[in-house]
């Protein structure tokens, strides 16, 4: 688990360099990515399917990014984009392609569907977290006006 955290941290830092994340935010972007990946591996180890694990990991990435964007007063995109990349199902895509090359259509259908569902899970997770935080901030503002 510690190794997974460390590896994911290093690769997210690599992505941050590619996308020109401001220098002061590189470490925190790496932390976001590593935490997302840690959640993913935790769910995989505890026996959940990869789609659910992807959903949970993306939720964590989105929530932590939102917290960081408020703390550092910067756009959430800076943390979400590098942080989400380890979860994008590159491996699934590769195995789907292998199945196509082998002519194994059954395997292709199953791995391909899983890949698409994982990408969908990332999208849904981002959507859910963004909606909930928006709702919470609106409610918070409403509450503040009463006092």
């Amino acid at each position: 688990m510690i190794w997974a955290f460390l590896f994911a941290f290093c690769s997210t830092v690599g992505f941050s360099i590619l996308f020109h994340v401001p220098k002061k935010h590189i470490a925190s972007a790496g932390f976001v990515g590593a935490l997302g990946w840690l959640t993913y591996t935790y769910f995989i180890i505890s026996g959940s399917g990869s789609v659910l694990a992807c959903f949970a990991g993306s939720c964590v990435v989105a929530i932590i990014s939102d917290v960081f964007s408020r703390a550092f007063k910067d756009a959430a995109t800076i943390f979400v984009i590098p942080g989400i990349l380890p979860l994008v199902p590159g491996a699934g895509m590769y195995y789907t392609m292998l199945a196509i090359l082998e002519g194994n259509l059954e395997k292709m259908a199953s791995t391909g569907t899983e890949t698409i569902l994982m990408a969908g899970a990332i999208a849904v997770a981002l959507l859910v977290v963004a909606s909930v935080t928006k709702l919470l901030t609106v409610m918070g503002r409403k509450l503040l006006t009463y006092f």
Binding site: S11, G14, I17, L18, F19, H20, I81, P86, Y94, L127
Partner: protein, 260 residues
């Protein structure tokens, strides 16, 4: 007639919007920034429509005899640069909250647009970091680590080269992933590397459409269906290009008699 002052405001706002869109910002953020800049310059009626390929901006002075003006900015090509997004975000906040002059604003924007990404060598190192550590994540050994390091660095250098000669999205993804796969296969066949799959997965990780995917969701959520669906299609095209690049490279390798 439009006066010189308003024209400058327009240039400022459109330039800021264009820079943000090119750097990979979401549509609602671009629209929000442009509206804020125009409102800060006391233009009462502003309407913006931003898509990944163009920005439309209409504004009116508000007096009964004034004309309405509409401007279109076509956006071509894009490269993700989160530093620019962050700096323009700060700039628009500063511009609206303090009485910064328009000329000063323009010069700040020019400075932001001229800012370079990290030096090429560092970026190649970043790409190598991504692919090598991903190889480790996907059960690679330390020998795979070095193979993926090399394959990732080479394929990223190729993608920079292809960007320079302005190839399209599909060709770039296809060529880079094909080369990454061929390098991995080559290194594997001369005895370096023990887990071929982890090396290939690691080196295609750099080109995955994560940015397009996240922005597609965020745009759709904000109600920008046009931007959302076009970003979604971009993500699909990139994914297909990567998969076909890897597939063609492996097929070619086996046809030429290589072991797989």
């Amino acid at each position: 007639m439009i006066n010189q002052m308003q024209k400058k405001i327009l240039i400022l706002a459109l330039h800021a919007g264009e820079l943000m869109m090119k750097s990979g910002a979401e549509s609602y953020r671009v629209e929000d920034t442009i509206t804020r800049i125009c409102k800060a310059c006391k233009i009462p009626y502003v309407e913006v429509f931003a898509t990944p390929t163009g920005i439309f901006l209409s504004l009116d002075e508000g007096s009964p005899d004034s004309d309405m003006h509409t401007f279109i900015k076509r956006i071509k090509g894009s490269s993700i640069d989160l530093d620019k997004i962050s700096r323009i975000n700060h700039f628009s906040r500063e511009f609206t909250s303090t009485d910064l002059s328009i000329d000063a604003g323009l010069s700040i924007l020019k400075e932001i647009s001229n800012s370079k990404p990290y030096p090429l060598l560092l970026r190649i190192l970043g790409a190598a970091l991504v692919s090598s550590f991903f190889a480790l994540i996907f059960q690679g050994t330390f020998r795979d680590f070095f193979c993926a390091f090399f394959a990732g660095a080479c394929s990223y250098a190729l993608s920079v080269l292809l960007d320079k000669i302005e190839t399209n999205l599909f060709i770039r993804g296809f060529c880079c992933c094909a080369v990454a796969t061929l390098i991995a296969l080559g290194l594997f066949s001369i005895g370096l590397g023990s887990n071929l799959n982890s090396v290939i997965i690691g080196s295609i990780m750099i080109f995955l459409p994560g940015v397009a995917l996240t922005n597609a969701v965020r745009d759709t959520l904000a109600g920008d269906m046009v931007s959302g669906s076009s970003k979604g299609i971009e993500a699909v095209i990139i994914a297909v290009s990567i998969a076909s690049g890897v597939g063609v490279a492996i097929k070619l390798w086996t046809l030429l008699g290589g072991a797989f």
